[in-house]
Amino acid sequence: MNWLRRLLGRVGGGLSHDVIDREVQEEIRFHLDMRTAANVAAGMDEREARQAARREFGDADRVVRAGRQILSGAAPARDGSSFAETLLQDVRYGFRMLRRYPVATAVAILSLGIGIGANTANFSIVYGMLHRSLPFADGDRLLFIDAWNPDRGDGDAGITWADLDRIRAAGAFEYVGAFDERSVTVAGQEFPERVPSTSVTPGLFGALGVTPQLGRLFEAEQGAAYGFEEVVLISDGIWTRMFAGDPDVIGQSLLINDREVTIIGVMPDGFRFPTAQQLWLPHAPTDVSDHQRRYVRGVAKLAPGVDLVTAQTQLSSLAAEVAETWPDTHEGWTMRGMWFRYGFLGEDTQQLLYMMFAAVGLVLLLACANVANLQLSRAPERQREFVVRAALGGSRVRLFRQILTESVVLGLAGGIVGIGVAYVWVEVLFDTVPLVPAYWIDVGLDGTALMYAVGIAVGTALLFGILPAVRVTGNQMSAGLRASGRGAVSSRGSMRAALVVAQVALAVVLLVGATLMIRSFLQVQSADPGFDHQPLLSLRIGLSGDQYDDPQARSAYFEQLRQRLMALPEVEIAAATGAIPADDGGADVALVPVGGQLSDDEAMYANAVPSTAGFFATLGIEFIEGRDFSGVESSTGDQGVVIVGESLARRLWPGRSAVGEQLRFTASGSEYKIIGVVPNLQYEEFGEDTLSARMQVHLPYPRVAWRSMAILARGRGAPAELLDPVRAAVGSLDPGQAPFDIMTMTERRAFNSWGERAMGQSFGMFGAMALVLAVFGVYAVIAHSVARRTREMGVRLALGATSRDVIRDVVASGARMTFLGVVIGTGLSLLVTRLLAGLVYGVSPLEPEVLLGVTSLLVGAAIVASVLPARRAARVDPTEALRAD
């Protein structure tokens, strides 16, 4: 029949398109003029009034088209003639809706902004540290190779030259090179400087595809024995700082460790390798078959088509072969291949980063729940609006899309705020990092991070938009036309309550995690290092120059330095040590008691630290028994004496005195007489010591005569006051030496705990956000349900209920939601905190008082949040309330 109607319409109606268009247009113009006039009457200025009128009217073209189609008898216009047009219209409408509820909109945008910002910042950090492609040729095939011995729990030993040769021959790699990080002393204009440098196998940079901006790379045959350098590559930083960017720098020489070294190239702007080093020396072994000294780290490029697992399998079978060949030095050792960056970022770092990522994910979920809640609270009102629109011909799909579009507009607004938050977040967080990050770490917000921000903004918008959209356009459409808001209230109420329960549960998890992180930081900060660190100044010296090739000269140097420092009026006592307690560790040795039952195979691993006389006194440590090294023992005299730690003494000579007993180091065969026993010291940083670090043996300095030692000085006053006199004393003894890493022990401890502090701060912030969002959620739901139940309250008050009854009831409903959330959250925490166990120091993952504290905090805050609306409920005037509905 349609064709007939259409025909009749045309003929019988006699209305041509032109006439219809003109009439409809005139009608619209009239409408707009009238609305404008009404707006002007309401106080708007002319222009504003007309704009508002247009906005209120919506898409005029669509009305014209609809008029043409309907009035000429064609099928009625369908919704939305084109997708883009509809979208634009929806977006415009969405903006209008958001403006209509400024407070709710601001709260929503702010919650989302914080959530999205925190996520974007963390994405940027995780991406920058773990996933951004390395700025090297084929960086995605680059492996870092080191060795470890599971028996000793030793995480980062190097490999030997012999290992390297075998890896090269094995075939899984296209290129195999090695590097060795070490600092050198460079003579500057005024003072000698300590510069972090690296020696690399000559072909390494070529394999990385890096070309110098000036000069050339090492040639294959360049490379000298360790400590014997002839040519050097410098960074652009050194070039500009020490040579003022002199274009003729190539061929000039640099005084490195008291030796003239020729500069052959300047590396490109910003280039550092492997992390932040700025000088590169060529490195080749004197003996390529050296299978003893583990001092290089491998850098290898996977051959095309070889995957990581294959390479790793090959490395471990190689290690097994090597161990068979040289069981004495390689037994128990294996080689590890890992992606280049993981060689520098410990597993803990990765785990922590992902943990933070998970935490901010939860914060975002909380924010989403809040926004969904806000949207739901407007649902009844929106529902009536949508019913009318549906009646006017809006299809349900169309309306559904409308609400989603609104959510997306909200989400994107939150995203914009979030990008700002993320920017500040990354800046602030990385400002607190006291280290120079590796060259290839770039955590700045870039296109990828911005795309991520937009992605999660839209994603979360869909997440928090779907529920209200289903609600509003869903089954209760017909109920909406009843102007009262009571229709279908209970199921919406329960959905909102469920959201709040989920929020509280998530908040419990986040707060428990935050508390753990903060406590871990406090523990690290207050942990007892076993000595009185406050009056101590610490610094390091790495002896450079030929004159110290003789170990006796090194012993003499440190003994003289000790004497000079002790002579300073500001210094009470000073000593040199191979390891600063609570910071680094000594050397691993295997030892057995002389005359005991242990065979060499059963040797005990211990941490050997060389020191001069006065080390324990400087730390303020009393001897348990025996005595310290004498000045003679620790410089020139009899050196066959050691001081052992309490644990080692107890282990080897339980129940009796260790003084007078003898030890034999299995590797060297040297024997030592024990002259003293001291309490255990904390070597390595807190939380990083291994079992062997707790078995301690202290050697007199000349036994090892390391070039690089630390100096500890105990001041009579504040340790910072020691700085200048100590520096002057070092300079006067030998102006060629550059003291570095100078810090008071208090500063050193703060430096060593910055990671824990940063984690504590970050998680503390997440926890605070979670608390605020969850409490706000409770408040919003209670406030809303009170507003909805005004009439019920009125009736109850009219029937004689006291306002206390009403308050109690309202608060109880808030408490019920919170309690349920807390119970669920506690269960989740039990699961989640297990993941944190390895990352926190000195805190057991789930302590009852933490849970108790967190839950009572949440319950308390939730009760406060429900008391406010409850009191409003109790003030309801019964007659008013009854009339209102």
Binding site: E27, L71, E385, G394, Q476, S478, A479
Partner: protein, 118 residues
């Protein structure tokens, strides 16, 4: 959830809702002929601004009813002496309003009984 059954009849219900709006417009026109702007104003006023919509969307509904013969359009003079299109109820429209109002009150009584069974 509770009216799962009704979802199946969504076509009917859509009609019901559309019918509701048409009924409201017809009711508005029952006393006096009005132009489109007047209808939106009256609607806004009488529903305490609950029934506000994109004003433009009102017109296609008017055209549909005109097309069905429930209302008639005629150009006339507005209160401020401008040319405006006035809509008035036809006999068919009056009949339609009666039927619709009856059906609506039956429906809302039924809903009322279900929702507030006091």
């Amino acid at each position: 959830m509770k009216d799962k059954k009704a979802t199946k009849n969504s076509a009917d219900r859509g009609d019901l809702l559309r019918g509701a709006l048409e009924m409201i417009v017809l009711r508005t026109l029952a006393e006096d002929p009005m132009h489109g702007f007047g209808i939106t104003e009256a609607l806004r006023e009488r529903s305490d601004a609950v029934l506000t919509v994109d004003e433009g969307s009102m017109y296609p509904a008017l055209y549909r009813m005109q097309r069905r013969g429930w209302i008639a359009a005629e150009w006339g003079r507005s209160e401020n002496n401008r040319r405006a299109k006035f809509y008035s109820l036809t006999d068919d429209g009056r009949q339609q309003l009666r039927t619709a109002a009856e059906r609506w009150s039956r429906f809302s009584r039924a809903v009322g009984r279900v929702m507030d069974p006091a």
